[in-house]
Symmetry: C2
Subunit: 530 residues, 2 copies
């Protein structure tokens, strides 16, 4: 199997005046994904081009072009008059040494701004509009302000389903696309919002053990205390060059890696930089983001997990069904075979929240350990079963039992060990792992039954404790929904590595423990079809 | 007359963990109105507080607090481990010397973010919501991303008229407010979009010569080639401390100054930093921006100019009437007496576009010069007449004739000279002024009648030529709507001071001259009531 990657053509035009050359200089300021160029106020070029601070400029060197935001300085220690400074990331993109000649010019306004304005005014956009907007976004031609405007205008204006398809399609065509040269390439995905929900790390080894191709690339945590990539990183290296990933998939039928290096759907990565601080996650953007990455990654079949619960992203069955139909419509137009599974999202899955704790839970399930969380095991088997049924040789309804056999027999554990070895193992003992050395317990303040665990608040406590940056930080849940507790019983334990993190987490837990106690009758019911 | 300024109370709370002290350092980077704080990556405080690049932090020193965006650096020439760097503007706000001890902590998320989300989701907001949002904006608690979200959500969600009132009221209460201790304080304002429309510089001397109090503070150009402040600055100093402005108003009944120093409606200044790059100017935001500044500046009576034309901000009479009703509703709730005048916005007013050229036109009208543009004269007399009729001693309908007498008699010129002298005259000869030394002509490519002048495109050409930064740059129109031209006749002349500016302007004029030629029957009619 030799996967092929296609890269879209470059689409710059050259209709701007160019300035004289300057010497490139790396300015060691981390501006977090925003390219920043620094010019000295007395630089001749600055005056001649009529630049303004914070305007967008185009920087060219070595045959490459990037767009950057201009900052102006009068400090020669930052840049001198003959120099052009670039922030760390921006400098790396040019691929040259310090002092290399570079050119700067006014950036033309993005061509798609007229389409953006039409969307802001509530109009419906066409296929070409989305292509133009997404291309400009992927090429970093939009400022943060314009990105926010796009995200809010498409959130509130509620894209119709054909517009969501156009947006998804545009996201696919502006990025790289992998062709695994296999008939069946399977994947699973969850829309997110449920802490501890590490089913991918069980589903992938199960279906790969069956022989299915499942090249799983995951994100790191965006708004959660751990993403699959963060958790897998406790066990193995996840940052692998694409060629190495291909070898691993060829040898083992699967991988569990970080997707950030593959440059799939680059516009999505740019949009996330705005959606995350705004905490916006509208149906249209969610569908486009997820399906564009799956198609770009070469998947042919996808099982999608939509959890429902009072503190999940989706809070009712009608809402879940509406979202399911939107996913199905767009997937169908893209030729992607999609199976949506609506699941129980009333509380976290498993016991641990945070990379090390979640890795422990996953390994316990794979090892059939007596303390393995049963909810994580059951959910993973169900999802793996649905994915196995994509195999034309497996009858509908048989998937679950086959998945269970693969797990119980140890074949899934064996596959996981092979993947860890292939990606580069890290020393990890799930029972004695490097948890944060600081901790505190949150206890029941009265007798009762657990009637609710707020996914959002418990995730926030784990994040304040340091997860996912600090791998051993997080929350270990001792009680789940419906369990009885007595006053003084430990509800959960918080781990941290730094005193200040512990203090932040304790402050948050004092304000709101995230665990509700009441009577057995108050436990919310499950609204789930499998 | 002793005007009184009231300043709203400070409303910070103190519920964040504080870090150890660092030494403050000015970092000479101009970040254009965005406060930026720089920490060294190896700084103990950086690790302990769990900061992230681009997160908002609170910086405290000398009893003052500001919010800033955090940039992280590894270059000790920018900041060392024990230092806290601040961008130029941010450093100035602290009012201390280099090396002064300072404290940094996580900024709490703005309390009004929940209200912002409700607006993004299309809900109606109440008075308290707008107070909270506008307070957070004025105190720089919103990131550019959040500001854009607010601007787009209130643009598209079309605030209802009571919401516009709440927004306006909130903008007033978060800034300073001037009380001139006069019964009648008059002002005029135009919603903008028409190049060359410098009527304020004629209306103010006329009504002040009549004895009315008209303390006119204007903005600099935001999206246009010249604002009133930019043009007045050709003749006189416009950046005056408030105490000096008060003296001038006491002595001369008027002033023509820049409003930026007065700190009226500070939230509006912050919002403009997002509205300008997005070119968004929705009715609700326009009404709130204009009326909040007028009320904060202490005006009791306002004449408002709404131009209509195919390339004006307002393109039809129904649209103008809708906007008029919104202005009137909000003005009434604020207790401001408002007179809306709908005017002819089919083309630029006067002949010159750009500070020096517009100052020339204004002085020609005041001097009753034979080349004085008649459209600028007529429009100014009509607006001044309406303002004069706010005087209870003047009968409705008599204002125009009184304004004309004041202008023709030279009393308006005399008043203008007194204002220029009081503010600090600049040497200026309107007939031999410092126009840019470079120029080119745009000529008619066929015989015909001028059937259209695109306000937006002609403004863009003037801006590319360097206006308003380069005072002598701009466009001098030789032909106006309805005039006949023969092939080769000069339509307009473009002035610039720099070769590159000239080239940018020429490129734009080549693409689109902004002047349409056709037959006499194609000249669009005027839809104007006076």
């Amino acid at each position: 199997m030799n996967p092929v990657i296609s890269v879209p053509g470059q689409t710059h035009d050259d209709g701007v005046l160019a300035s004289g050359g300057l010497n490139l200089r790396a300015v060691a300021i981390d501006t977090y994904k925003e390219n920043v160029a620094y010019l000295h106020r007395d630089c001749d070029v600055y005056r001649a081009e009529g630049f303004q601070a914070l305007s967008k400029v185009e920087v060219r060197a070595n045959g490459r072009k990037i767009l950057a935001t201009l900052n102006v300085t009068s400090d020669p220690r930052i840049v001198q008059c003959h120099e052009l400074g670039l922030s760390i990331d921006a400098f790396a993109q040019m691929g040259v040494d310090q002092g290399h000649p570079a050119y700067i010019s006014q950036a033309e306004p993005p061509v798609s701004i007229a389409a953006l304005h039409r969307k802001i005014n509530g109009e419906r956009l066409g296929r070409e509009d989305f292509q133009a907007i997404v291309r400009d976004i992927a090429e970093h031609r939009y400022s943060k302000i314009e990105l926010s405007a796009f995200v809010v205008a498409t959130h509130q204006g509620e894209l119709d389903r054909e517009e969501v398809f156009f947006l998804t399609e545009a996201m696919i065509t502006t990025g790289r696309r992998v062709d695994w040269r296999e008939r069946l390439v399977v994947d699973k995905h969850c829309i997110g919002g449920i802490p501890g929900n590490r089913t991918s790390m069980l589903v992938v080894p199960i279906v790969a053990a069956h022989g299915m191709v499942c090249p799983k690339t995951s994100s790191r945590a965006i708004t959660s205390p751990a993403g699959t990539a963060d958790t897998m990183e406790v066990l193995a290296n996840v940052e692998l060059p694409f060629d190495r990933l291909s070898e691993i998939v060829r040898d083992h039928r699967a991988c569990l890696a970080w997707g950030g290096t593959a440059d799939l759907s680059p516009a999505d990565d740019v949009l996330i930089s705005v959606e995350r601080p705004l905490s916006l996650d509208s149906p249209g953007q969610m569908v486009a983001s997820i399906l564009s990455k799956k198609v770009a990654a070469g998947s042919s079949h996808l099982v999608l997990d939509i959890p429902i619960g009072p503190t999940a992203k989706v809070r009712s069955m009608p809402e879940a069904q509406k979202l399911r139909r939107l996913f199905e419509y767009v997937a169908h137009r893209l030729g992607l075979s999609l199976d949506v599974v609506i699941t129980d999202g009333r509380q976290p899955i498993g016991q641990g929240i945070g990379p090390v704790l979640e890795a422990r839970d996953v390994m316990r399930v794979l090892q059939n350990h007596p303390l393995a969380p049963q909810d994580l095991r059951q959910k993973s088997l169900r999802l793996a079963g649905r994915l196995l049924e994509c195999d034309p040789d497996i009858r509908g309804g048989d998937g679950y039992a086959i998945a269970r056999d693969i797990l119980d027999s140890g074949r899934a554990l064996e596959k996981m060990r092979a993947l860890i070895e292939a990606q580069g193992a890290r020393p990890f003992d799930p029972e004695r792992a490097a948890l944060g050395s600081l901790s505190f317990d949150v206890v029941a303040d009265r007798d009762g039954v657990v009637t609710g665990i707020d996914n959002f608040q418990i995730a926030r406590i784990a994040q304040l404790a340091g997860a996912p940056k600090v791998k051993g930080a997080g929350v270990d849940l001792m009680r789940k929904l419906g369990e009885s507790v007595q006053v003084g019983d430990v509800l959960y334990r918080v781990y941290a590595a730094f005193q200040s993190d512990l203090a932040f987490a304790r402050q948050a837990a004092d304000r709101d423990t995230a665990v509700r106690l009441g009577s057995a009758g108050e436990v919310p019911g499950v609204f789930v079809e499998f």
